[in-house]
Symmetry: C2
Subunit: 358 residues, 2 copies
């Protein structure tokens, strides 16, 4: 059976002051009614039932996750006692799924992405599931790059340079590449056989467990004892011990870059990882002056601005390319091209005894 594992443990500090420790990115509705997490479940409709969705999040967000996803059984929301990047998170979920369903196929999805063309996304996902179920492959979903982004990892595939996105196909992966500098990113785009690494994966639970045993034996050893603990009174203690015994490592670096039989299904479905406020601006509906507005605002002689106000009046006069985010106790005014630096503001708040704003 096909199960989804949604990774929802991030804190998304680049969305400060809206994202806080108490309310990270995946729980925000920066575009409309639904949150990024809710949309992640909703867009699986017809491929994976909500009853077969699991969400792995930090312990402190378990209640909030359950509240946002009434269609997902509460027991399907797992809390990580410690955040340790994607490999331990995936190991935890894989052992849990395999204990329930030894033939489980596992779709792994980050909880904080935006996808505008759900139909095409589902086509890609079905091809990836088919490939993963065929012969124990590790399958990743690649995004046809639209520009030489330096914020994403890349995947090189063995296939034709011209892709037919209406008929998605799985291709063997030649190489993974970490986030490149601009010159390297431009070379990747010129070469025509590189895709963005979306962080979405499909495999059998058994396949990834075997791969962990082979490529990340310490992670495997840490989580293997869970097999006998699930459903027993000592489950939560065993989970804590497993995470404590794990080092922080990504599944890309720990497994995908080293494994054989790795495939990628390239897609083009309006994907974004919404990494900062600039991405929110790019993805938002705008008025004829290019302004994306949320909340009570007055704009005069202003253009290409993003304004997000929780409940106060925000007035812009003669401003261009600005991001203004107003919340109860703090307001951010940021040039659109500096949206990445917001993360450093959060670091600054931590370093200067201003945690109450984080």
């Amino acid at each position: 059976m096909v199960h989804a594992v949604i990774m929802a443990g991030g804190i998304g500090s680049r969305f400060w002051p809206l994202s806080r420790r108490a309310n990270p990115k995946q729980f925000l509705n920066v575009f409309g009614e639904a949150t990024l997490l809710q949309n992640t479940v909703a867009r699986l409709h017809g491929v994976v039932d909500p009853g077969n969705c699991r969400v792995v999040t930090n312990e402190r967000y378990v209640d909030q996750t359950r509240a946002q996803l009434p269609s997902v059984p509460p027991a399907n929301v797992f809390g990580e006692p410690i955040s340790r990047n994607t490999a331990p998170c995936i190991a935890y979920a894989a052992f849990a799924l395999e204990a329930l369903d030894p033939d489980a196929t596992m779709v792994v999805l980050p909880a904080d992405h935006v996808i505008s063309d759900v139909r095409r996304f589902q086509q890609v996902l079905r091809v990836a599931i088919e490939r993963a179920e065929e012969n124990g492959a590790l399958v990743t979903i690649g995004i046809s790059p639209t520009h030489p982004a330096t914020g994403y990892g890349y995947v090189q595939y063995d296939g034709p340079p011209e892709l037919d996105f209406d008929n998605p196909t799985a291709y063997p992966v030649l190489a993974f590449a970490e986030k490149p500098d601009l010159a390297t990113a431009e070379r990747f785009l010129d070469s025509g056989d590189f895709l963005w690494n979306s962080g979405m994966f499909v495999w059998k639970a058994r396949t990834i467990i075997d791969a962990l045993e082979h490529f990340l034996p310490d992670t495997y050893e840490a989580f293997a004892p869970l097999q006998d603990a699930f459903g027993t009174p000592r489950e939560s203690e065993a989970v804590l011990e497993a995470f404590q015994a794990s080092r922080s490592i990504s599944i890309d670096y720990g497994v995908m870059e080293r494994a054989d039989k790795v495939y990628v299904v390239p897609g083009s479905f309006g994907w974004s990882d919404v990494g900062d406020w600039k991405a929110v601006y790019d993805l938002s509906e705008k008025d004829r002056h290019g302004n994306a507005i949320r909340g009570q605002t007055i704009l005069r002689g202003s253009g290409r601005c993003l304004v997000h106000s929780d409940d106060r009046l925000v007035v812009l006069v003669g401003m261009h390319d600005a991001i203004v985010v107003d919340t109860g106790d703090a307001v951010l005014v940021c040039h659109r091209e500096n949206a990445q630096d917001v993360k450093q503001v959060v670091d600054y708040l931590y370093a200067h005894q201003l945690e109450r704003f984080v």
Copy 2:
């Protein structure tokens, strides 16, 4: 005896969102500990006693004015029942002073100006007082212009093009000019004999009453009955009737532009009428990045900004030449060169049932 009449009736909507109907410009401490009104009284120290200062303000600000000026006797704060520009305000004060002191000399000062060189200002004021007491002259204080401003009226004087500001002198006025366009303002500066009209005047109470009778007989007629009403139970009713009977007209247009024996004392004492937030920026102390900061703020990669926060955290990232003013219920983000347009925001608030923000 020399008396001061401080005109404090304005609402200063260009300082929104800090200035409100309930808290206009003259009551704000945009630069430091003291408010503009308090500084207006303080800088008369040694020339006019606080006990000889009168303040004319709108009725609704009488209590606030008295609270801000504990050294001024409460009875010296006059409330205007209706705002009718400067001529009725001055007529009211002149009749009131003359009733107390038939030989009164009257220094008329707006409550919302900034003057950095108080010593030089007092020198100018003393010369103006001397001239006004000599032979019934109407004396205005002119400011040596530093740039072709279009926001001020101008005064043309009959004197040498090079002035000695350490030895101020009264010169006959040749002409008054309304706020010019830029080309005209540049011509004024080139001609070398134009000064900015500061709106500060000195005259005997008797002199201005005679001038009102001659040049603005309707204003004179409206206020003359007050002479018999001061100190009687019907004083406040008489004041209301006088203002109701008056049209709105400035003393410049109504009297100064038409009178003979008008003199100007040119000065250069770091004067500004602080017309908008840009002026506040220009007059504020700045850090090495050119930022003028008030309240809890974090600035990263930002320069030449003015930030004023009452009590929330304001963070600027990658911003330049911006004005950010944060108050309890509203925040303004304005390009520094558009500071004049803030007034239009207030007009908009009135026009769109948003008076609660005014």
